[in-house]
């Protein structure tokens, strides 16, 4: 044995150090590690200290702030900053307050459109038909004419026109909806039960989906609603923002016998998305892989609606309907632009995916449900008349000060029946429900009225504030050839003349035409006499009041070769609903005239084209009021008493 062998190979010597210096061997790697760690920390700190030395940016220029509470007039907007220009809201700099009178405000209230007696309303909720009554629930603020404290208002009607106000259906009284009972939808189950899914804003402002159901199904008025004790039933899934997850839809039955709903959200802030959840009992849900559909660049999808339409365009369909001869409509309210869009496509019930017929007109980038002041629309299946009915919210376009002063804000459109337009194959047709015709009083017919290029023709119909107008127009060309027009939608309104248009009617106009609202067709010559037509509503001269929003609204309307130009216009004080070509293109407008009110309101035909005469045939009805009022509980009681004696 050689004593000079190295210690690392001699087992005897290996063990000895362990006995006498227990931590020596293991301390060596630890010490090395500590040195390395310490060096790294030291170097990092050096780097950070150096970076910290860079001078702090100056606070605001002290000379531009004179004293607390005032601000120098010399300070100018900083210029076109990222995405926000001082001119991006030009209207904010121009508006002047108007001295509204009570008479003007009172005139603005509609005669036959639904609106609560007072205060703020927005999205329609949970529409359904049950035991002879149509139900309208709606986002409602019981305390003010401005959005806030959102509850579910409630009204019922036997005919979608004559509504009765009922007590509030739901109020924010649970932790899971204490910050608002927001929008939701109803599902009618085959066994007769009704389930309501709605979004609640929780005590921590998280958007969750909750379940509610009628306390008493045999109550035709569905007055009382109960909330499921196990709420919420769906919370934002992982990866979905707490504040961008709302408005559950009516459920549809899948081929596997379980139900599906869709809820709108967004990915990466810009990709509008519809998620699909599956359930068998409406209290337990599973998020399905993938999404129903998503469209980049459209932002958050609110109030998603998803429903089938019959290709033959004859009847409405139950939400669960599937099979050949059926297409599906996907609709979303775009939070970023406050516009309702839809697209027609095909639903694959196996993969739970929907694809648009035309990807270039996908949801959010193509057709609009309504080209005017309209949002948060929602459909339901009316099983009594086999119709798909569409409710839509119409906000005010005046200032909140005006709303507070007059004590109310917002109306609902006349409910519309929705059908697939099998003549074009690309559009839906919306038409006011036929029950609105029960309001028609005397009719006046005008046949073949010639309106020459650049002229206005008054129509003598008496009071022009509550009207149902059906109008057809024929063009008589005056010029042999015309130049091509630049395609520019509705242009600058009715003053923007072309060879073939604009022509139409002037509603809520006064005799001197100091206030008027043109509703019109604008055919443009896009090539060799082939025309592309726009259907438009021009609010720019609807009122002398400078502080209301007055825009030109409208969109393209297909006019087929064998069709003439036809429109229907419902006029009801401060709202005008205009339907082009049987409802292919629809525009809702709000107008707040100061002079063309009460007996001073008139109706005109106009033709501002330069190269055509127009021949118009119209049928015009004066419309009765719908006398919307609180449900007459005492009357019913009295009648029952009388009947029982």
């Amino acid at each position: 044995m050689e004593a000079s062998s190295s210690t690392s190979h001699d087992p005897a010597l290996f063990h000895a150090p362990l006995l006498h210096h227990p931590r020596r061997r293991s301390s060596r790697p630890l010490k090395g590690f500590a040195v390395i760690f310490g060096s790294v920390v030291f170097l990092l700190s050096l780097v950070i200290l150096i970076v910290n030395q860079s001078p702090e940016p100056l606070a605001s220029n002290p000379s531009s702030v004179t004293e607390a509470g005032s601000y120098s007039m010399a300070a100018q907007p900083r210029g076109i900053a990222e995405g926000v220009s001082a001119k991006s809201n030009p209207s904010l700099f121009d508006k002047v307050g108007f001295n509204w009178t009570n008479a003007m405000f009172y005139w603005q209230r509609t005669a036959y459109h639904f609106q609560p007696q007072k205060n703020w309303m927005n999205d329609p909720d949970g529409p359904l038909y049950h035991k002879g009554w149509y139900h309208l629930f709606y986002q409602y603020n019981p305390d003010s004419a401005i959005w806030g404290n959102i509850t579910w208002g409630h009204a019922v009607s036997k005919d979608l026109i004559h509504w009765f106000y009922l007590p509030l259906a739901m109020v924010p009284d649970q932790w899971y909806d204490i910050n608002g009972c927001w929008t939701g939808s109803a599902t009618l189950l085959p066994d007769g039960r009704i389930v309501m899914l709605y979004t609640g804003s929780t005590n921590e402002s998280v958007q969750v989906q909750n379940l509610a159901y009628p306390a008493n199904l045999s109550d035709p008025l569905l007055l009382q609603w109960l909330k499921y004790p196990g709420n919420p039933v769906v919370v934002p899934p992982t990866g979905i923002e707490d504040n961008e997850f709302r408005d559950p839809t009516t459920a549809w039955l899948g081929p596997d016998g379980s139900w599906r709903i869709t809820v709108g959200t967004r990915f990466n802030t810009t990709i509008g998305t519809a998620l699909v959840f599956q359930t068998t009992n409406f209290s337990d849900y599973q998020l399905l892989d993938g999404v129903l559909h998503a469209v980049p660049g459209t932002g958050m999808w609110e109030c998603v609606d998803f429903y089938p339409v019959a290709i033959n365009g004859s009847v409405g369909l139950d939400t669960t309907a599937l099979g050949p001869g059926i297409k599906h409509v996907l609709k979303a309210s775009l939070d970023d632009t406050k516009v309702d869009h839809y697209a027609i496509g095909t639903y694959d019930m196996i993969t739970d995916k929907w694809t648009p017929d035309n990807p270039e007109e996908d949801v959010g980038i193509g057709l609009k449900v309504d080209y005017g002041r309209y949002y948060a629309s929602k459909t339901f299946f009316d099983q009594s008349k086999q119709r798909r009915i569409l409710y839509g919210w119409v906000n005010e376009t005046d200032t909140e000060a005006d709303d507070l002063e007059k004590g109310w804000a917002s109306i609902q459109t006349i409910p519309r029946s929705v059908l697939y337009d099998n003549k074009t194959g690309t559009h839906l047709l919306q038409w006011p429900v036929e029950e609105v015709e029960s309001l028609r009083l005397n009719a006046t017919v005008f046949k073949d009225v010639v309106v020459e290029a650049g002229s206005v023709v008054p129509l003598d119909i008496g009071t022009a504030t509550q009207l149902d107008i059906l109008a057809e127009f024929e063009i008589e060309t005056l010029v042999s050839n015309s130049t091509e027009d630049e395609v520019s939608d509705c242009g600058d309104g009715a003053v923007d003349r072309n060879t073939y248009g604009p022509f139409g009617v002037l509603v809520i106009a006064d005799d001197s035409l100091s206030e008027l609202t043109p509703i019109y067709f604008r055919p443009l010559n896009i090539s060799n006499g082939s025309l592309e037509t726009y259907f438009c509503a021009d609010e720019t001269r609807s009122s002398k009041a400078p502080d209301v929003t007055k825009r030109v609204y409208g969109g393209k309307v297909p006019v087929l070769d064998d069709e003439n130009y036809n429109m229907r216009v419902l006029v009801d004080h401060s709202v005008v609903e205009s339907f082009g070509e049987g409802g292919r293109t629809v525009i809702t407008s709000r107008v707040y005239p100061t002079e063309a009110i009460y007996g001073a309101a008139r109706l005109f035909l106009f033709n501002n084209a330069s190269g055509v005469n127009v021949k118009a045939t119209l049928k015009i009805w004066e419309m009765n009021s719908a006398f919307i009022r609180p449900f007459p509980f005492e009357e019913t009681l009295f009648q029952e008493m009388v009947a029982s004696t």
């Binding site: 950070i48 200290l49 007039m73 001082a86 904010l92």
Partner: protein
Amino acid sequence: MKILIVIIFAFLVCQANAFRPILLLGNQNLIERTCKQTPFYDLCIWSLKSNPESRDASVKKLAQIMVDSLKTKATETLDLIDELLQDGLALDPEMQKALTSCAERYNVIIRGDVPEINEALKTGDYKFAAKGANDAAIEANSCEIEFPTKSPLTDMNKVVHDVSVVAASIVKIIQTKFSF
């Protein structure tokens, strides 16, 4: 070994202080980045930085601070209007009419717009926050133009208007920003 650990520990404690300026620097960057996206950068910076709560604030909190500033400025303006109206004998009827109208508008800002913005920010339905902020700007501007000749409220109307516009811009930033 013990000494080494003590040294390292002391070292780390010293470095922790070095890290703190970064947090401040980080949030100053957020305030600046946010204000750059508004049309009134200086006003935005001044309003936010003069509030200590902006130190570690998220963009949403910055919006809330701006709304508080709006409420404060609007209340100061309304107080001034009330004072001017109390000098009733000295006022000509047109001035009185304009001031009364302005008082209504500022009531709308304080009792209508500000609560709407706050509730919308809290509950995450941001379009109503934008609506309220935009409306406040309109009300302030409408007040200013009520006066046929010289307005006694020009400076204050401009502040309220500009603060509202800044608040609306910040709301827009929140809407387009991913948040958890």
